[in-house]
Symmetry: C2
Subunit: 224 residues, 2 copies
């Protein structure tokens, strides 16, 4: 992997007291500029970066895409995405467990120095804290992977209740885990009857088309 | 599963400014009372509760065991452990993403109303925030599961640097994931040359004896 094209931004703790207000302000700005921002969340190791690679490869001829990889330390993820041929930057959170709207804006300001239509934020791997902070994104997505278990919507209720779409990843290993897809969908529905649920396998590409259609539809509606 | 024997404690945010001081105070108290406290951390879905079930079943004839299950909402885990025939309570963190020493003490005070020699805290499923707060435990353990990937020590550096032992769980699914055990051990060593690493499979019982020997040795040394 090359290091070219990867900028690392050390983001600072936000100074704003009212994160919700800052998030709304950021969304207004995105609307004016015709930029759709997706906030992608999940546990560590559920396949955010692999899913993003598939997403970027599917949609990069349709939209100018920019990706912000939030990570506590390394810059591995931004390099992986950059190698797909889209603009990617790494955000270092300095140990912070989530991004809020002010921190997201710091990243966006760097990212959108180049013209971007679809901006994607890969949030810190964490099912708890990122759910508590509106980043200013137009839509919130999360990945739950099969090995994590079908009971996670019951145990991390806030995360499942605030997302617009849940991608159930790693469906290729379903035979090796006690994971009941229908039960999982029921558990998600209990927390959030409006969430779209799409089973995918980022490794094999299964379900990626359906996910990219969902995303395109939302990007186009936002930018209309 | 029965509901008997499960007490749910709604723990409050700590009022102490100096968590490290409170943690040391709690450890002194544990030493005086002959109680060994283990803090068990991991991502959501890495197998903390299944590992605890195996641990409890292996050691319950040797020690009086008490388990605190920290969770944002449900009480499923405490019921599962209680069904193994040991004392278990559920701590509700009210959305908090970690436990500090003051919160741990609130749980311990309830748990040790019955005499306990080995107390185990199952922390909130999160690889970020729990690493930042000393709970007052005598030893810190974490689980990394095979599906999460061998690169996690590079991406969640603080967690791997503060633990005494890393259990690498779900070894039964190694053939279905790109997980390099030797590379994972090297990555852990980079963060923490002193950590003991034990591959286990909580589902099949593989490695549980080695883990329980490590734990027993540490309990006996602490209580000597």
């Amino acid at each position: 992997m090359s290091n070219e094209g990867v900028k690392v931004i050390e983001i600072k703790k936000s100074v704003f007291e009212d994160n919700d207000k800052e998030a709304d302000k950021l969304r207004d700005e995105l609307k004016d500029r015709g930029i759709f921002l997706l906030n992608l969340m999940s546990s560590p190791g559920s396949g955010k970066t692999t899913t993003l690679k598939q997403t970027v490869n599917t949609l990069k001829d349709k939209y100018r895409i920019g990706v912000m990889e939030a990570d506590i330390d390394s810059d591995v993820d931004a390099r992986t995405i950059s190698d797909c041929g889209v603009h990617a930057i790494q955000l270092h959170t300095g140990g912070m467990c989530h991004l809020d709207a002010g921190m997201t804006k710091q990243g966006l300001d760097e990212l959108t120095e180049e013209e971007v239509e679809l901006a994607i934020l890969e949030n810190v791997g964490n099912l708890v804290c990122p759910a508590e902070f509106d980043t200013g994104a137009c839509k919130n997505a999360m990945i739950l992977s099969v090995p994590e278990g079908d009971d996670k919507p019951l145990k991390y209720p806030l995360m499942f209740s605030i997302v617009d779409v849940v991608l159930i990843n790693k469906t290729d290993v379903m035979p090796y885990f006690d994971f009941d897809m229908e039960k999982c969908k029921e558990n998600i529905k209990k927390r959030n009857p409006n969430a779209t649920v799409i089973p995918i396998c980022a490794k094999t590409g299964e379900g990626i088309d359906e996910w990219c259609e969902w995303l395109s539809k939302n990007v186009d509606e936002w930018r209309a």
